[in-house]
Symmetry: C2
Subunit: 248 residues, 2 copies
């Protein structure tokens, strides 16, 4: 009943010319006219133009970003789970993190034209460059949150799979991109005059498999440990954690 009333009231609602433009843009992205335009408007408000609300809470797209990040993660998880029935969870986790990385989502937002819809205060970009670096990717997540709240899980899942994943991601290419964390770490260390050393900690038989554990030391200080079914895999695992730690 409430939903029916909202439908009717939306029907008679007079949209401003800007709102009509936004409605059309969103329909082009999702394939469906928004029922609740306000949620999408909020998804496009960067924190640099946040509105002051009660209790000191400032309204911007950050809450929707938190929600959209979780929904996107779940849908991509399911998508990969079904697409790769014989791949283990390490593979699935790695491929998912490539798809939903901040760089990847930033690029995706530009591809679907979301960058032109985000509202922000460019004057503030100098004082806090960090919050501007992923402004479009963050809005991408918030937009997913808005689609989920406005249209429900099933539509949102279809939107993510059909309009985003199928259209803008080449899975074979993503899978084949061998992210070599070890060489990334070593190159970084050379640029910054640091030493990198990998040490084998243990090697254990587990059923039909061997399990290797290594640690990586930078300037002789232990930074991270890694494990895997080969020494190389364990080193990559440790190097990946070290890259994360140093934000390389």
């Amino acid at each position: 009943m409430r939903s029916l009333l909202r439908h009717i009231s939306n029907w008679f609602r007079a949209y401003s010319p800007e709102e009509k433009k936004l409605l059309t843009a969103i329909r082009q992205i999702t394939g469906k006219k928004p029922s609740n335009l306000q949620i999408y408007q909020l998804a496009l408000i960067h924190c640099s133009v946040a509105r002051e609300m009660r209790d000191g809470y400032r309204e911007s797209n950050e809450r929707l970003e938190y929600l959209g990040d979780a929904i996107l993660g779940a849908v991509v998880a399911e998508y990969l789970f079904k697409k790769y029935p014989y791949k283990d969870e390490g593979f699935l986790t790695e491929i998912r993190s490539r798809i939903v990385s901040r760089d990847s989502l930033n690029a995706l937002a530009r591809k679907i034209g979301l960058d032109k819809l985000v509202i922000y205060d460019a004057k503030r970009s100098k004082s806090s460059p960090q919050s501007f670096k992923y402004i479009y990717g963050d809005a991408m997540e918030a937009f997913v949150g808005a689609v989920f709240l406005d249209k429900g899980f099933r539509f949102c899942r279809r939107f993510i799979v059909e309009k985003l994943l199928d259209h803008h991601f080449d899975m074979d290419e993503i899978v084949e991109t061998d992210t070599n964390y070890k060489s990334r770490l070593i190159e970084w260390a050379q640029r910054n005059n640091r030493t990198v050393r990998f040490e084998l900690l243990s090697e254990r038989q587990q059923g039909a498999y061997k399990q290797f554990k290594v640690q990586v030391l930078v300037n002789n200080q232990e930074i991270a440990r890694g494990s895997g079914y080969s020494k190389k895999q364990a080193e990559q695992d440790a190097a990946r954690k070290a890259c994360e730690y140093f934000a390389i």
Copy 2:
């Protein structure tokens, strides 16, 4: 059509006495009879008793755990998003991580009786104690993945909210538990004869707010940086990252 056929074939399927017992146990947990018992069976197989499949892939609950983790994260995200409309994303992220922490899920699995259903090889627990520590919590996530695959998102969401969150979590208590990362880090450092020092890096005016950045040094080595709207908040943020780093 396919779903109808599966329904009919399940109707006539003869279950073994063990399977009947499992069916009853699952129905008590979820409130609904499983349509596809095999998915739940897989969710309860710990990697210590994994079955060898093709391409060296070994079938256990680890893939379902990856899926269930993502679904649970999304449902809890939505639940908190709606329950706390005026709380910021930092708060929501923190409360969610308390709910889905490995300790919390381990305890939850015991509460709903999942610990009695998990199949594992106890003889192997000595050789890899790490994979046994969260055996029930991991199965809890895998079980959520099974419910999602068997019954769809809407039922799975209702299961998580009504049977898990409403029944077994006291939100007020969870929110009020003040996780003091700073004192946790300092106590750990004292036990391990290390020094801890917090240093203010910057203090900037951002609109009506001040933004603080600090770094935390352990044995004079920078471990992590944190930010927040107060020095205390920024220190807690840095301390939290340091606790993660040292796995305290």
